[in-house]
Structure formats: C-alpha cells, structure tokens
Symmetry: C2
Subunit: 192 residues, 2 copies
C-alpha cells in the first residue's frame, strides 16, 4: 500500500455534544478501500505549553506549576500552559499563559515544535515554546477557580521523575522531549 493509500476522506460530520471546554462530532468517512466508517472527534481550541528555563549559577532550572487536575483527580507538577483565547496566535497565548500562571515574563520566547495532543480523537494542536531571559513580575493572574503554586525544579530531577508522580501530565513529557531536541539532539552529547 502506498502512503496516500492510508488517507480517508470525510463524507459528512455532525455535532453530537457541546460543553464550554470542547464539542464532539461524529465524522463519517470513506476508507482507502471505499468502506464507510463513523469516528468520534473532539474539537477544542489549540493549546500552548511553555518550557521556561532559568540559568542560574547552580545550574539550569525549569519554572513549573503545581496544581490539582480535575480529570485525573491528582496533583500535577508540570509546565505552564493553557487554551488559546479567541484571536490569539500561539506565541501570544504562550506569553500570556506564562505570565498569568507563573508571574514570569520572558525576554526571549521561541517555538520548539507542535503536536496533535491525541490525533486519534482530537482535532486541535498543542504548540510548544521555550521561554528564556525570564524576569519575575511578582504577580500571578489566576482565574477564580485556579490554584497554582510556582516552583523552580532542576532539569535532571524532572528528567529522572518523568512518568511518576508528581510528573504525571503526558504533555509535559512531550515538552521535555522537545527541550532535549532543542538543546542536545545535534550535539555530540547525544549518544545515538
């Protein structure tokens, strides 16, 4: 089968559920072999996740946020991030989320990659940024139902802790992989 032989075409789509955070539709599609299938797709705005790095004399640290997560019902220590607001582009959303959640502003913020958070069932994208030259404004700007503690965490501690509490958010693992890509993938330090 050639690569284009993998693509399905959408025949129709209808909304089946809506809530403030996302909506759901049923997508009726035609397979490469001309079969019809129905797939459930979750639509929501794009997200931004920011890897904020402070380079201090004791080594590099990430600025991370500790918060309660209502889906998994546990505390997560993760990179700041959130949903785009209407009209925002990815870099604007990243800078805003960084400032609101951590009180830090970045002198330098750059894109380091983009993924589908879950391409099997979600249509949106998650955009990753590296934030450097940070300075602390001293004031978070949280929503009424947000409780967010800011922590500086050693990079090696994060690397060793991935996949175990409190580092339980899969997308912070993705962000960490992109951070390593940016910093060591082309270096001789990378052993593969």
């Amino acid at each position: 089968m050639n690569k284009s032989g993998l693509e399905w075409t959408e025949e129709s789509s209808k909304a089946v559920f809506r809530c403030p955070v996302f909506s759901i539709r049923e997508s009726r599609c035609r397979s490469p072999d001309n079969e019809i299938g129905a797939f459930t797709v979750l639509d929501c705005p794009d997200w931004a996740i920011i890897v904020p790095v402070i380079d201090n004399p004791k080594g590099k640290k990430f600025v991370m946020v500790r918060q309660w997560r209502h889906g998994s019902r546990e505390i997560s220590l993760e990179f700041p991030g959130g949903v785009f607001e209407p009209g925002e582009d990815a870099a604007q959303a990243a800078a805003r989320e960084l400032r609101e959640e951590t009180a830090y502003r970045a002198g330098k913020i750059q894109t380091i990659g983009e993924f589908s958070p879950n391409p099997a069932i979600m249509s949106n994208r998650v955009h990753f940024f590296l934030a450097e030259e940070l300075y602390n404004t001293g004031k978070q700007d949280l929503d009424k139902d947000e409780y967010v503690e800011v922590e500086l965490v050693n990079i090696r501690e994060v690397f060793r802790g991935l996949g175990r509490p409190p580092f339980i958010h899969a997308l912070m693992g993705t962000a960490f992989a992109l951070y390593l890509q940016k910093t060591i993938a082309d270096s001789n330090d990378f052993p593969f």
Copy 2:
C-alpha cells in the same frame, strides 16, 4: 498555601454523553476555599504505548507504525499502541498491541512509566513499555478499519523530527522522553 491545600473534593458526578470510544460526565467539586465548580471529565479505558527497539549492526532502530488519524485528519508516524481490552492488564495490552499492529513479538517487555494523557479533562492513564529482543511473526492482525504500515526508523531521525510531520502524536513524544530517561538519564552522556 500548603500542598494539600490544592486538592478539590468531588461532591457529585453525572453522565452527560456516551459513545463507543469514551463517555463524558460532569463532576461537581468543592475547592480548597469551599467554592463549588463544575468540570467536564472524559472517561475511557487505559491505553498502552510500546517503544520497540531493534539493535542491529547499523545502530538502534524503532519499530513504528504509519497510519491515518481521524481526529487530526493526517498521517502519523508513531509508536504502536492502543486501548486496553476488558480484563487485560497493562503488560498484556502492550504485548497484544505490539503484535497486532507490527507483527513483532518481544522476548523482553518492561514498563518505563505512566502518565495521564490529559489530566485536565481525562481520567484514564497511558502506560509506556520498552520492548526488546524482537522477532517478526510476519503477520499483523488489524481490525477491519485499520490500515497500518510498519517502518524501522533510526532513533536519531525520530529525535530530530519530533514536533514536525510525520511525528505529530504528542504521546509518541512522551514515549521518546521515557526512552531517553531509561537509556541516558543516569549516564554521563546526559549534559545537565
């Protein structure tokens, strides 16, 4: 605020949508400050993702799968994986998905970490495995609507490609971070 001051308690929960892939409920919770909030939570079975590594004379390669993804409507080159079947544990699901999607069996398969795929809105977990000592049975076992091409990909090519097509599945980025954790986090090769 101390750490336990971040936790919310659930007061009630009711189903608002069901489909074959997941169901959705509204969870009514009480904040650390005694405020009430309603949160939408998506329930589905746990997932397994497998990092299958072949160590051949030309270097290490991953066994990956190329497939059409209906949520993001694009082709993804990613690690094999899928949803637990009823009664399966994580290791069983991982071994089965590896065999069905890639035709490979593993002489050695071990857990390398566990995350919430999206702890803000999802209640399930994604379990990651490293599969080694692989042998090819020569026969995939795909569902009727699955079209999956198997490819051997250099580790460095995957690392450099993360966050750009065809490496667009965020959870394969998470899996890659765990693979690096397993192989280099404690070595002198890791520069942090």
